[in-house]
Amino acid sequence: MLKKRIIPCLDVKDGRVVKGINFVDLIDAGNPVDQAKFYSENGADEICFLDISASLENRDTLINIVKKTAEEVFIPLTVGGGIKSIDNIQSLLKAGADKVSINSAAITDPNIIKNSSNYFGSQCIVVAVDVKKNENSWLVYSHGGTKNTGIDAIEWLRKVEQLGAGEILLTSMDRDGTKLGFDLDILAEANKILGIPVIASGGVGSIHHFYEGVKDGGADALLAASVFHFNEFSIMEVKNYLKKNNIDVRI
């Protein structure tokens, strides 16, 4: 039986973790490799790095981090943030990333999805889609959720799948940081129309929210950041809860 995945997300800026674990005595809490290792040893099914560096020069720093992480962590690693070109993707995959997540660049030029999935295989191309509710529909936002593209989310999801995305990372901007739970409506809608896996993101505040994401939203994987970083509960607590409620997870 295929398991539902739990994915902790770490924000990395200029080579340092800026949003990460706050409760463990890591020798260097800003070290992305140590944090990734901690999570991989404590039940994470994948690790996600989101690079929020402002400048391009820091891309090399990111590449080095990915390399070091791949030496220490033997579960899949997804890297996103600021990816603009096939070259960017290649250097991350070469450094040891298993998947890359593309967001704004796909909106600027959707062909990057097609070209990269043709070249590297769709299994390593994740398209991150940030959405906000607008009356009865959802609109796609870009540039870290700051720019309204005016694109209808459902149409965009269909297009992205057609272009060759292997997976969707779906974030509700309305719910992100609110702790009110995932936006189950858009999740369910996305799962209805898509034949590729969907990672739910944005809004987790309780263990039960993970359950809802799978049960009502139909998510294949669940991504969270702060609830794990602040040890509100552990990944294993989430998994035990899901298992108790008949959702298959890797224990």
């Binding site: 295929l2 398991k3 791949a70 030496e71 033997f74 295989g121 769709s122 299994q123 997976e167």
Partner: protein, 209 residues
């Protein structure tokens, strides 16, 4: 005896991850072993353990292998004549089949009889991506993996002709071989190098061959 592990680089996929996982096993078990990434058929001659990773389309992978002069000859010699340990991962496992139906019909290495077919979707998400369990069907091989979860990413599967070549199977809509084996040849549909400790244990057993 010192082990010489070669990871074949023929322009496909995430070779570094495979390299890192083997390096980790060598280091933590203090094995007397050298490991190299190489696309040169000459390096196969000196190898005691050969690893064939693979990512992306079957056609691209098999063409990548074939485009290197002398590669198929050395591979056949190493595996079929000398019968030295061989480890195929993902598409590197699928290449062992006679042929593949992915985007047309493409001939494989033909070392283990079978055909690569598309997984029937039956309303299931594709690719089959994530952690899934395996059931061991055959205990007659030197590698006996733990019956637990491993990390998969694929949309095609190895339709194996002979049941005796299936070491383990996995269910996703249908039961399909997750590990195939024939004498010295091992092929893994999942990624041992991305499957945490249970995956690393498989690599360790392979290096003990």
């Amino acid at each position: 005896m010192k082990k010489n592990i070669t990871i074949l680089d023929y322009g496909s996929g995430n070779i570094l991850s495979a390299m890192q996982s083997f390096s980790r096993i060598i280091k933590s078990n203090e094995l007397d072993a050298d490991i190299c990434i190489s696309g040169n058929p000459e390096s196969i001659k000196h190898s005691t353990h050969l690893v064939l990773p693979g990512q992306g389309a079957f056609e691209t992978c098999i063409n990548g292998l074939k485009s290197i002069p002398g590669m198929l000859e050395e591979l056949n010699k190493y595996t079929l004549e000398q019968k030295k340990p061989f480890f195929g991962i993902c598409v590197g496992m699928q290449l062992l089949a006679n042929n593949s139906e992915e985007n047309g019909n493409h001939e494989g290495l033909g070392w283990i009889e079978g055909i690569i077919r598309k997984l029937p979707s039956k309303n299931l998400k594709m690719p089959h991506m994530g952690w899934n369990s395996i059931k061991v069907l055959n205990n007659n091989f030197k590698i006996t993996p733990k019956e637990t979860d491993y990390y998969f990413v694929h949309s095609y599967y190895f339709d194996c002709k002979h049941q005796e070549n299936i070491l383990a199977e996995t269910n996703y809509g249908i039961n399909f071989p997750s590990i195939v084996c024939k004498e010295n040849i091992y092929g893994f549909q999942f990624h041992p190098e991305k499957s945490s400790d249970q995956g690393l244990n498989i690599i360790k057993s392979f290096l003990e061959l």
